[in-house]
Each structure stands twice: as structure tokens, then as C-alpha cells.
């Protein structure tokens, strides 16, 4: 922001890096209990009852951000990480917490071993053509 020549060797604002170290948000955890590893394109969906008062008592601001972002439109793990500007690893742990609290659920993408249905692939091709 304030990079107009003065104090080139100093860092300001975003330049200085996060005020809170990323893994402090997870209280030092790098994995969550509910760990099936979340794929980058796994889609996070906020549960309809997540708005209920009381449920949000124990959530950190970052948790709430995730619940909020996924309420209107489900979001992939990668999108959440980019949106919140957090490392993927941190976002995974936070999502794991929310899954355990039943605030969100995660749809798993097609497992790697089996390619998606041929009809889906045809839809992809026609979808790309129509772009």
C-alpha cells in the first residue's frame, strides 16, 4: 500500500505478513480428527441449521467466514483458501472442525481410480464447446 519510495526496507500492512501466524488459527493442529484428506476440489456446503443461535458460540472468525462463504454457494476447498488468503493446510483443519460440529458437510469429488461417468465427460465437452 504505502510503497511510494519511503522506507523501502520496511514492511507495512500486508507486506509485513499476517498478524496471526496461520497455524495459530488451528491452535497448532496440522490435521483434524475427521481426516479423510480433503481434496482441493471437494465442495463445502453449509448445513441449513448452521444459522441457529448457539451453534456458533465456539467458532473462530475464520470458521465463521467459511460457514458464511459456503451458505449461498457451495465452495471448493481451493476457492476457500484463496478467498480467505490462508494456506490450504489451515483451511483443511478448519473445515474438519466444522464437519465435526456438523456446521458444514463436504461432498467428495469422483474418486481417482474411477473416471467420472462417460455421460458427465460428454457434458463437459459440450459445455466447453458452448462457452
Amino acid at each position: 500500500m504505502s510503497g511510494d519510495g519511503q522506507g523501502m526496507s520496511h514492511w507495512f500492512d500486508d507486506e509485513a505478513g499476517p498478524v496471526v501466524r496461520p497455524y495459530a488459527m488451528t491452535r497448532g493442529r496440522t490435521t483434524s480428527a475427521a481426516q479423510h484428506r480433503l481434496d482441493l476440489i471437494a465442495v463445502v456446503v453449509t448445513e441449513p441449521h448452521a444459522d441457529d443461535a448457539g451453534a456458533a458460540q465456539t467458532l473462530s472468525p475464520e470458521h465463521e467466514d467459511i460457514v458464511g462463504l459456503c451458505r449461498d454457494a457451495p465452495q471448493s476447498v481451493a476457492e476457500l483458501a484463496a478467498e480467505l488468503d490462508l494456506p490450504i493446510g489451515v483451511v483443511r483443519v478448519l473445515i474438519g472442525d466444522l464437519v465435526a460440529d456438523e456446521m458444514v458437510h463436504v461432498t467428495r469429488p469422483v474418486p481417482p481410480a474411477e473416471l467420472p461417468d462417460e455421460s458427465i465427460l460428454r457434458d463437459v465437452i459440450s459445455g466447453l464447446r458452448a462457452l
Binding site: I41, V45, S76, P109, P112, L131
Partner: protein, 201 residues
């Protein structure tokens, strides 16, 4: 009237998500390619490494650079409300292969972008996808000022299997990139069909 109310509580559509990787050497146009078709500005997820890169990265000329960013650029194409395709640009540096594993799991297929002036830069990517049996298409990015070579020459130089498609493309051009992506999906379909055959016979 009751319907009207229950409509409100309707759960949002949960889309099927698919991903295609865009790999290739440093500066070959991966991010450009993702940006050409993505409906969002390519997003970027990052992990910042400070010490890890020190002995490896040659930072001469960019001495002010103290951190190395492992970034994955990605874009999104919503094909239908319930069908979303993500494009991931792989990190350029070879030593971040652990991220490639993460990215390639569950990928539909991949594009290996090649620059004919530095063809060797994409050897690693070709190797990687061959070894993991991930269907891929080689896209030769036609840079201005670079000599054009017939695709057959590129195929030979890369020692590709005959069924791997090689296409000329322009990473900046939306139509061209669309064609490449369609090529990847078609190749993935053919690849899957072939595999099913070999399993059943």
C-alpha cells in the same frame, strides 16, 4: 403457498467438480492459459517458504527476494449449475513435486504446455503423467518469434506414445485453449475406454 415457503429453505445445488491440470516449465504460459478460459481471475493459493529454497534457488538479480512462493494458480469454468471444471496450474519448480501428487489425485487429465525453444522444460511433466497413467495432451504454445515445428517433430523430440495428442495452441486465446481442453477430455475418454478393454480381455 406452502411450496413458496419451503422453496426458501432449499439447499443450494451441490455441483460435481472435476479438475484438469496445466503443467509445463517456468514461464511457458500456464497461468495465461488458465486465465484465458477461467470465469474468475485466476486465484492463487500459496504456501510461503522462507528457508527451504535458500540453497536451491538462484536469486542473483533478485536479491531482494527472500521468500519463495509455492503457488497454485487455478481457475473455474462453470459448465452447468451442477457441473464445475477447475483448472490448476502446477508449480513450475521441480522440487515441489509433492504438490503435484496432491493436485493430480483425481484429475481428469492434464495439459503439458511446451515451448519449442525450451522443449526440455516439459520433460519432467511428461514423465510424471506417463508414470502415473494420467491422460495428457501436449499443447505447443506458439510464441511469437519462435520457430514453428510440425507436431510430429515435437512428438518425436518428446518421445511420446503414439496415442498422446499433440496440438498447436495459443495460451492467450480463449478458443484455442477451449480446443485443447476438449482434447484432454476426449483423450481421457478414449484412455478410459482402452483401459476397460484391457481389463476385460
Amino acid at each position: 403457498m406452502i411450496f413458496g415457503r419451503s422453496e426458501r429453505g432449499k439447499a443450494p445445488v451441490e455441483p460435481v467438480t472435476l479438475k484438469i491440470l496445466v503443467a509445463g516449465g517456468f514461464g511457458v504460459g500456464k497461468t495465461t492459459m488458465v486465465g484465458a478460459v477461467s470465469e474468475i481471475k485466476p486465484l492463487r493459493t500459496e504456501e510461503v517458504l522462507t528457508e527451504a529454497g535458500r540453497p536451491v534457488d538462484d536469486t542473483s538479480g533478485v536479491e531482494g527476494k527472500h521468500t519463495t512462493t509455492v503457488a497454485m494458480d487455478f481457475g473455474r469454468i462453470t459448465l452447468r449449475e451442477d457441473l464445475v471444471l477447475y483448472l490448476f496450474g502446477t508449480p513450475g519448480q521441480d522440487r515441489f513435486w509433492f504438490l503435484w501428487d496432491e493436485l493430480s489425485t483425481g484429475a481428469l487429465g492434464a495439459v503439458v504446455l511446451a515451448d519449442t525453444r525450451r522443449l526440455e522444460d516439459c520433460f519432467a511433466a511428461v514423465d510424471y503423467f506417463e508414470r502415473r497413467s494420467i491422460p495428457f495432451v501436449v499443447g505447443v504454445n506458439c510464441f511469437e518469434g519462435a520457430a514453428r515445428y510440425p507436431t510430429e517433430d515435437v512428438r518425436q523430440a518428446l518421445d511420446l506414445d503414439p496415442e498422446v495428442p499433440v496440438v498447436l495452441c495459443d495460451a492467450r486465446d480463449r478458443e484455442s485453449v477451449k480446443e485443447v481442453l476438449i482434447g484432454v477430455v476426449q483423450h481421457a475418454m478414449a484412455y478410459a475406454a482402452e483401459r476397460r478393454q484391457t481389463v476385460t480381455t
